[in-house]
Symmetry: C2
Subunit: 233 residues, 2 copies
């Protein structure tokens, strides 16, 4: 202990992590209870509790009332990614943001979309396409579908002035979201907007949100060449 000899919850956490790593408490085994550990470390139970609570959040251990605390068999690591507004992401890079509306239509949902996000057969969908630029260079192509049957006020929004991305964040809350990343090859149309060549590999993010089981929106975001999504943890 560096400053003073106070045991802090971080010390407890690190000590527990070491013991797990050194197989003092092997995977699957039952760890001592909070009271016992508090006595051993010479600190309050609340301190041990905080350390163990964080370890549980991180997926290192598994805690159950009465059953006690066990070391997880497979140490699943979690990486947290920030999902900001495109605008914020671009400005965060120190670049100037520009938005460009391409076009929109009101249509019945295509079958693949119905299946993918769980729409009703008669749901009307607002289909918007637009571009996001960083320092006037293409950054992201946004292919956005909004469930107009549920989000009625989307019919009256002016997406030539505000990006659907931003409009939705401000106007429509959601309870569940799914995001998925993949690589694909660029088609002719998007290649034009992104100033790239058809067939080039591109990074794609697809995002769906629901409000109490009702599908709100689906977006396919195609990033320009060289995009990279990074996080530390």
């Amino acid at each position: 202990m560096l400053r003073g000899d106070k045991i802090r919850y971080r010390d407890v956490k690190n000590e527990i992590l070491s013991r797990i790593h050194d197989k003092v408490w092997p995977p699957g085994s039952l760890m001592p209870g909070e009271i016992e550990l508090a006595e051993e470390f010479g600190c309050a139970r609340a301190t041990v509790n905080r350390a163990m609570r964080e370890l549980a959040e991180e997926g290192i251990i598994d805690r159950k009332r009465k059953a006690g605390t066990r070391v997880n068999v497979s140490p699943v690591r979690h990486a947290k990614f920030e999902i900001p507004l495109v605008k914020v992401e671009i400005e965060g890079l120190g670049a100037t943001y520009r938005y460009a509306f391409i076009g929109q239509t009101l249509e019945r949902a295509p079958d693949w979309l119905r299946a993918r996000i769980g729409l009703e057969p008669d749901d009307e969908i607002l289909h918007i396409r637009c571009m996001h630029y960083a320092n006037n260079a293409p950054f992201q192509f946004e292919d956005r579908w909004i469930n107009a049957t549920v989000v009625d006020k989307a019919r009256k929004a002016d997406f030539s002035a505000i990006s659907p991305n931003e409009w939705l964040v401000n106007e429509v809350p959601f309870t569940d979201a799914e995001i998925s990343f993949c690589a694909s090859s660029l088609d002719q149309t998007m290649a034009r907007f992104l100033s790239m060549t058809a067939g080039e590999p591109v990074f794609i993010a697809e995002r769906t949100t629901w409000l109490n089981e009702q599908p709100i929106t689906f977006a396919q975001l195609t990033f320009a060449r060289g995009y990279r999504m990074t996080t530390r943890y």
Copy 2:
């Protein structure tokens, strides 16, 4: 309040969230201090503290000593991805896992790697290449670099028997990790191993870990066609 009239930290958290959503405390504004809120809610400061600490972790608010707590201007959403062992990931899909060692060399770190993860000029690097299969179909090509100067026992490990991925998880702890995703086009060599065609778009994950500032390992993981990384939040 449902059970009794005890205020729990969840109640505090929800109340704060409502107020932020209702713009009682607009984005960027300074919220009341913990003591003030504790008095208002009729609970202990620790209870308010826990509520606010969690909101800060979630990126909803920003806390600074002396400066106080502010509502974040852009509600940054966080998506949590699980980073399991390839083996666990494949078995989790209900497929049979198979590992294949390709080859390894001990070399000086190439410049790009030195720059990328912060190696010393004289560090020796163990360079391993291997494959992971799901139901005997190529799943992932692993291009792994291990800092043998720091992780000395890696020199004696038998990577034809155990994948570096698994070996590292069991043998070497880390304090910091970075993961990044991007899309690229497949080169000739990897195309052969992945049973794909050179030039095809592929999804790539790159992962670096450090133990107390010392670089431990860098891995470039190239996934077979159609791979998709998904999470709900």
